[in-house]
Symmetry: C2
C-alpha cells in the first residue's frame, strides 16, 4: 500500500461506491489475519472470527491456543483481509478489503467487555460454547489504513474513519 516512487500510485481515492462496498465486506463474520511470528520475525497467517462492533469497532475473539494470540501480544501490528471468492471467473475479480491494523487486547475486567460480549453472542450464538473460557480474549483491531480491491485495476484507498 506504499506508493512506489518509480511510478504513479495505481490506487485511486475512494468513491462513494467503493466506501459502500467496503462497508458490505465489513459485515462478514471471518477474515484472514497476517501477523509476525515473534520467534522468527517472519509472517504468519490465520483465519479469525470477525465483527465490526458498533462501539468497539473492528473486533476479533481469539483462543490462547491459536498461534496468533501470542504473536499479537508481542507484535501488535497486523493486517486483515475480508472478502469471499465466488464460484465463477478469476478469483482475483472478487472484491476484498485489506486493512493494516494494530491489535489491542480487551482486558477481562474492561468495563466495555460485558456489552461487547453480549453483542458478539447476538451475532454468533454458537460462540457461547467457548466465549467465557479463561484463555479466550477479545482483541480490537485499530485500523491504520485500508485498501479496497474491486478487481483488476480497481483499487481504492479507504480511510480508517470510513471503516
Amino acid at each position: 500500500m506504499t506508493p512506489n516512487p518509480t511510478r504513479p500510485d495505481p490506487v485511486q481515492p475512494a468513491t462513494e461506491d467503493a466506501r459502500q462496498l467496503a462497508h458490505r465486506l465489513l459485515t462478514l463474520s471471518h477474515a484472514a489475519l497476517a501477523w509476525e511470528d515473534p520467534d522468527t520475525g517472519t509472517p504468519g497467517i490465520s483465519r479469525i472470527a470477525f465483527a465490526r462492533d458498533p462501539q468497539a469497532g473492528l473486533l476479533t475473539l481469539i483462543s490462547g491456543l491459536a498461534p496468533h494470540f501470542r504473536a499479537l501480544r508481542d507484535r501488535p501490528d497486523c493486517a486483515l483481509m475480508l472478502g469471499e471468492v465466488g464460484d465463477t471467473g478469476d478469483p482475483l475479480i472478487h472484491p476484498r478489503l485489506m486493512i493494516r491494523a494494530r491489535a489491542q487486547f480487551v482486558a477481562p475486567d474492561d468495563p466495555a467487555r460485558p456489552a461487547l460480549r453480549d453483542r458478539w453472542l447476538q451475532r454468533s450464538p454458537k460462540a457461547r460454547a467457548y466465549i467465557d473460557l479463561p484463555d479466550f480474549a477479545f482483541v480490537r483491531l485499530q485500523p491504520a489504513s485500508a485498501l479496497l480491491n474491486g478487481g483488476f485495476a480497481r483499487a481504492f484507498h479507504i480511510s480508517p474513519e470510513d471503516l
Copy 2:
C-alpha cells in the same frame, strides 16, 4: 506454529485423513498471502492466484502493481492460507491449510517457464489476458512448514514433503 514451551503443543502429527484434506485444499485456485512490508517491517496481506504445479510445486502469478510483488522481492519469507468458508455454522469450523514459505521469482528466461505458463493457462484460460505482460512474474512458494486446521481442537502438522 512454534510450540509454546509453557504448555504442550496443541497440534497433532498428521494422519492420513489430514494429509488427504490438505491435498484437497491445495487444488484451490486462490489463497491469502501474508508478507512483510519492506518499508515499515509490518505485516501486509493480499489475495493471490494459486496453483500446485506438478513440476514447479506451489506457485503464484503476480502483477508488478501488487504491493506484495516488491515485498516478496525484498523479504521472501511469507505465509499462505488455503480454504473456503462455507455457508453454515461458525467460520472457524471450516478447514484451512496454513503454509510458511519462501518466495522464489521465476526469471522470464527460466527454461522451466514456458511449460509452467502453458499448464497455468490450461487451468486458468482467463489468465491469457495478462500472463505475458512484462511486469507479471511467476513466483514459486517453497514450503518450510504447514499446519492444517480442521476445526476447533483439530490441528495437524503437515510436513513440506506432503505438500
